[in-house]
Each structure stands twice: as structure tokens, then as C-alpha cells.
């Protein structure tokens, strides 16, 4: 699986408006909805579900990234939205540091293996300092898109 297989290029937000966790989650879910990725799924319910999941255990895994994620009937394939915060957002991360890049992942309910594959791919790149740096520095949708495509071509990025 490649990043471009599940990252929605119409749901890339180089400058998130919100400066708090729940606002950022809402922005990302709304972006997926606007991109037509959520089918008949109810946007507000989905936002609540993501926040509830995040309250159970933070997906801020350190190194300035957070990967909020849930399963939902709204999607039949894994989809992801990406947003960057210039000021940083408190995600109650493991390392207690603010996060600057947030990747929201929505996975279908009945395909746990696909979810794992998408996560594997994402974390493979997120482990690379260069990828995290480029992501955080991306200023436009096109720059994020280029980075995603480049990472798909070059597994060391």
C-alpha cells in the first residue's frame, strides 16, 4: 500500500486554523467530508467518535506528530487527511510536546488488516526525520502532495 492510496489530496490543510486538539480534529474530518470521502456518514458524529477515541488514549506518539484514527461505517476504504499547525497543538502526547503535523485516519469497520497496512506505511515514513521535517515545513497543498508522492517513490524518505 502507498500513501497516495489512502491520503486524500483534497483533504490537505497546510495551515490549520484551530489551535486546539478538538478543533483540529473537526477541521480534518470536515475536510474529508468536503472531499466527498465520508459517504452518508454524519460528520458531527464522526468528530465526536474521534475525540472520544483520543480521550481514551492519545495518538500523539511523540516527535511532533499525532495520528488520530477511528473505524467508521462511513468509509469502505481507508482514508486520511493531513493538517499542519504552525503554532503547535497540545495532543497530550507521550513526550508531552506539542504536535505540528496531524494525520487523521478513518478505516472501514470490517477490514482491520487494511488499517494495519495503512498505519505501517504511515509510521514507516513518520519515523524518518526528513519526512517529518518536510511535512512540517510544507506551506501549500501542492508541497504536501509532492512530498507524499516522493515518499511513495523513495522508501528512505
Amino acid at each position: 500500500m502507498k500513501l497516495a492510496d489512502f491520503v486524500c489530496f483534497k483533504a490537505l490543510i497546510p495551515r490549520l486554523e484551530s489551535t486546539n486538539r478538538d478543533g483540529v480534529i473537526a477541521e480534518l474530518v470536515n475536510a474529508l467530508d468536503a472531499a466527498g470521502k465520508l459517504g452518508k456518514g454524519n460528520c458531527k458524529d464522526l468528530i465526536k467518535t474521534v475525540i472520544k477515541r483520543e480521550n481514551e488514549a492519545s495518538t500523539g506518539m511523540g516527535k511532533s506528530v499525532a495520528v488520530p484514527h477511528v473505524k467508521s461505517n462511513a468509509v469502505s476504504e481507508v482514508v486520511a487527511a493531513i493538517g499542519m499547525s504552525e503554532a503547535g497543538v497540545d495532543f497530550s502526547s507521550l513526550d508531552k510536546q506539542p504536535v505540528y503535523s496531524i494525520i487523521l485516519l478513518i478505516s472501514p469497520v470490517d477490514d482491520p488488516d487494511k488499517h494495519l497496512q495503512a498505519m505501517e506505511n504511515l509510521f514507516h515514513h513518520l519515523q524518518t526525520e526528513k519526512f517529518r521535517k518536510f511535512l512540517r515545513q510544507a506551506k501549500t497543498v501542492a508541497e504536501i502532495e509532492d512530498l507524499i508522492r516522493e515518499a511513495d517513490e523513495n522508501s528512505t524518505l
Binding site: 506518539m61 511523540g62 494495519l116 498505519m119 505501517e120 509510521f123
Partner: protein, 98 residues
């Protein structure tokens, strides 16, 4: 200090596999021990105390993993991890219970 190496094989038994929550539980337990812990799925070996690394194993239901611990408390560590993966199954259901 004696360096004891312990290696065991475990199988993922919860239906959803080693997704983030189980991976965090794994790392939490692994981090309670001073020994070095590596986990391998045959293709790659990763640091059992790093959440990102454990997550990239993408171990699905039925996947067999090798857990290798090296250090004085390695025996206790692999037993605690085996219990988590196979007995308590990360407090998650197996495929037949879903």
C-alpha cells in the same frame, strides 16, 4: 553482569491485530524492563520499546512474532509480553467473538 538472552515466539490472537492501542500496551510493558527487547516478524526486527517501530510491524491476526530479550530481566520480560499477546490478548476479542 550476566547477559541472558531469551527468545520466544508468540502469535497474535486478537482479531484486530497489533494496532496502535495494543502496540502501546506492548511498549508499556516492554519499557518496564531494563533488558533490550527486539520484535521480529521475519521480515524486519524492531525495537520493542518504540511505539512507532512496533506499529510498523503491522502484525495482523494470526501473525507470528519473535520476541528477543537480552539483559538480566529478559526472562521475566518475555513471559510478561507473551502473557499480554496470547493470554490477555490486549483485552480484545478474538475473531470468533466478534
Amino acid at each position: 553482569m550476566d547477559s541472558v538472552v531469551c527468545e520466544i515466539s508468540v502469535e497474535i490472537k486478537n482479531a484486530d491485530g497489533l494496532h496502535m492501542r495494543p502496540a502501546m500496551m506492548f511498549v508499556d510493558i516492554a519499557s518496564q524492563y531494563s533488558c533490550d527487547i527486539t520484535v521480529s516478524n521475519g521480515e524486519r526486527s524492531v525495537d520493542g520499546k518504540s511505539i512507532m517501530q512496533v506499529s510498523i510491524l503491522a502484525a495482523t491476526y494470526g501473525t507470528k512474532l519473535k520476541i528477543r530479550a537480552e539483559g538480566k530481566d529478559s526472562e521475566k520480560a518475555v513471559e510478561a509480553l507473551r502473557e499480554l499477546v496470547e493470554d490477555t490478548m490486549f483485552n480484545e476479542p478474538g475473531p470468533e467473538e466478534k
